[in-house]
């Protein structure tokens, strides 16, 4: 069909980035939430939370917040649901272009934006006493994991957005993500939870991702309680990201490119 999928993808990426540029309020909100969390958890709850190995709580918290920012399918879900509901997806499908190139372009643009958000979050972290205790290599490894996680979240979000197909419904689902993030070791070590809940929390991918980032950056880590993904957090994170991408990239691409039956 089309011979220029790269051009099509680049145009789709430009569309997403241009929209973001027009939406400073949205960017402020995306960044504002973790900043508020740094303040609330770092300074309100933090002093009451014991970190294993007498580590500093804010050093424990900030890597978790990187994961909260990265593993967030909501923005791409809402934006895709909006595109589907308001006819943009139909318009693109009716053009003589590579249909599959569009979600790839959008995911790439979202990744660029995501790295920017992570860097700004890192500045906030530095301001409240978080530090990288390893070296440039492991730090880039942590960034790599966060980008992979963010890429996976984008594809999950785009797929769900296509399935939901309505912006208002998608926005209502947004509240479900935060409890999912809470049920992990991001904010508190899981050791104090009841056994059944602790198992859930330890196997929650949010826990794996934050354990990997903490390990790579030399920040305090939570006890693994013997959960396999936490024993090998870096491998576990890469496995989670790979599985999610292997499932959701084809699902989303096929769904986007299909002609309705």
């Amino acid at each position: 069909m089309s011979t220029l999928p790269l051009t099509d993808g680049a145009a789709a990426a430009t569309r997403i980035l241009t929209k973001l540029r027009h939406d400073p309020a949205g960017i402020a909100l995306t960044l504002g939430a973790p900043v508020v969390l740094v303040l609330v958890f770092g300074f309100v709850f933090g002093p009451a939370i014991a970190v294993p190995g007498s580590g500093d709580y804010r050093e424990y918290l900030v890597p978790g917040l990187f994961v909260v920012i990265a593993f967030n399918p909501i923005p791409s879900m809402v934006s895709m649901a909006r595109d589907a509901g308001r006819g943009s997806v139909d318009r693109f499908r009716s053009l003589p272009i590579s249909r599959a190139a569009i979600p790839f372009g959008q995911a790439a643009a979202t990744a660029v934006y995501g790295v920017l958000c992570l860097l700004l979050m890192a500045l906030c972290g530095l301001a409240v006493g978080w530090r990288i205790h390893t070296g440039i290599g492991p730090a880039l490894g942590a960034l790599g994991i966060l980008v992979a996680v963010q890429f996976a979240a984008t594809w999950i979000g785009m797929y769900l957005g296509l399935v939901i197909g309505r912006e208002d419904t998608a926005s209502q689902l947004a509240v479900l993500v935060f409890p999912f993030a809470m049920l992990s070791n991001i904010f508190v070590p899981t050791a104090g939870m009841p056994a059944w809940l602790r198992t859930l929390a330890d196997w929650n991918p949010f826990s794996t991702f934050s354990a990997a980032v903490r390990t790579l950056l030399g920040n305090p880590t939570a006890p693994t309680n013997g959960a396999l993904p936490l024993e090998y957090p870096v491998l576990g994170s890469l496995a989670w990201a790979a599985v999610l991408l292997l499932v959701f990239v084809p699902l989303c691409t096929v769904r986007y490119a299909r002609t309705e039956r």
Binding site: M1, R15, K19, H22, R91, I97
Partner: protein, 310 residues
Amino acid sequence: MTHDPVVSVEGLVKAYGSVHALDGLDLEIAAGTVCAVLGPNGAGKTTAIRVLSTLVTPDAGRARVLGHDVVEQPGEVRRSIGLAGQHAAVDDDLTGRENLQILGRMLHLGRRGARARATELLDRFDLAEAADRLVKTWSGGMRRRLDLVASFVVVRPVLLLDEPTTGLDPRSRTEIWATVRELVAGGTTVLLTTQYLEEADHLADQVVIVDRGRSVATGSPADLKATVGVRIDVEVEDVAAAARALGALAGSEPEVDPDRRRVSAATLDGALTLPAVVRHLDAAGVVVRDVALRRPTLDEVFLQLTGAAA
């Protein structure tokens, strides 16, 4: 110059569960003409557009654009059409100019080409003043116009418009009509769906009335009106005598409104003239206060054909 139809649809069927959105739709559109597909909500208009724009696969039947089958050659069909769907599919959170530029780049005009084309279209269709404001600040009419313009960033032989003026004020509607006429003058073939008979009457060379997924009548607006014939309306002293006389003249059962002393009858005799009616009533001894011959509106044609309640 060939006389093959630019768009041809034969026996198109599409069911969603037990609902037949299309149930054997037929239509043909000649090059450079406007065809209005007219029907009530749920008649299958949008589904027809979606099949022709390769968004939906039909269950049965064929649809072709410039001879290309929508199922077998979707790529060729997409290169032949422009689509403006029922919602204004423009991005609210981009400016008008950015909307057109991004589409231009997707259509491989190149960065510079896309920019030039956007400027040209914004100027020509009177959107230049708002061009650099976010579309969410635009009026509904301007947004629709931008959406229409977005469907011909690259001009295609066929334009598919799904209810292009639904919900617009009369002025915006007139502006959309003017744009469509301009495109047709340039050789574009247009298929548009509408719920407004007035719109079909103004724009279309051919009207296809659809009901429950199939075409119930096809023809020019004038042809369709002729199928309903002419109505004779009189106001008289003696309604009973007038009803007898009109019934004989029209060959149909007249409607009588005794309170207002009005009698009305439909006739298929399109050649009937007003003097002939007056002479006939006079000869029957009916005293006439007022008399009129009325060509039917498309509304009456539509209601008669679709059997919908007025």
